[in-house]
Symmetry: C2
Subunit: 123 residues, 2 copies
C-alpha cells in the first residue's frame, strides 16, 4: 500500500484507515449512525433528532454515507415527499467499533479533562 508496509500509510487517501477515519471524524456521521441504530428515519426526523444541523450539511453527510454503502436512501413517490434513511448491514456493523470508541471516551474523559486543566494552568 505504501513504501513502509504495515506502518503509517494514512496519508495515502486510499488507505483503509484514512477512508474510515475521514468518515468517523466527520462532525455528523457518528450522530447519524447512532440515530439510525433503532431503525429507519426520514429526513426531518433525523434533523430533529440530531439538532443544530443545517439541511445542506445533513444532506452532504447522508450522501457521503450513501455513497460509501453505509445507508440506503428510499424516496417514496407521494405528496408531500417522504424520504427514508436506513442503515445497511455495512453501516450497522460500524456501530461496534464506534461503541468501542465511545466506551473508551466515557471511561477516560475525566482524565483527559484533568490533563487539560493542569496543562492550561501551567502555561
Amino acid at each position: 500500500m505504501n513504501s513502509e508496509p504495515g506502518r503509517g500509510d494514512a496519508f495515502d487517501p486510499d488507505c483503509p484507515t484514512r477512508v474510515v477515519l475521514d468518515r468517523i471524524g466527520d462532525k455528523w456521521t457518528v450522530l447519524v449512525i447512532r440515530s439510525l441504530e433503532d431503525g429507519s428515519l426520514r429526513f426531518s426526523e433525523l434533523r430533529a433528532r440530531i439538532g443544530g444541523v443545517a439541511p445542506k450539511v445533513l444532506t452532504q453527510t447522508l450522501r457521503a454515507m450513501e455513497r460509501d454503502g453505509l445507508l440506503t436512501r428510499t424516496v417514496h413517490a407521494q405528496v408531500p415527499p417522504r424520504v427514508d434513511y436506513e442503515l445497511t448491514a455495512l453501516g450497522a456493523s460500524l456501530t461496534a467499533p464506534i461503541a468501542t470508541l465511545t466506551d473508551w471516551a466515557e471511561t477516560h474523559l475525566s482524565r483527559i479533562l484533568a490533563a487539560r486543566e493542569s496543562y492550561d494552568s501551567a502555561s
Copy 2:
C-alpha cells in the same frame, strides 16, 4: 449531558464522544500514536517516520496530544537540543479502540470502495 440523555449529544463540545472524535478524526494524531507504539521518538524521528507533515502541523498535533495527557514531552538540556515524545498510559490505552477501527477498516474497505464505484457510475 443533554436534553436527550444517552442519545446524540455529540454537538456538545464537552461530550466525551465529541472530545475523542475530534482527536481521532485529526489527520495526524492516529499516525503519531501508531508511530509511538514501540517506544519514544524524538521530533525529527517522528517527522521522518510519518512523512509529509510540516513541522508546524506536527507541533500542533503533538501539543494537542500533550494537553490531553496522551503523551509526554521531555526536553533534554543539551546542544543540539533533543526532545523526546512518549505515549502515556492513557495514550497507550487508546491503541486498543484504534486497532478495532483499523481492523474494521481493513475488513470492509473493499465493500466501501465497491459501493462508491457503483454509486458514482449510477450518476
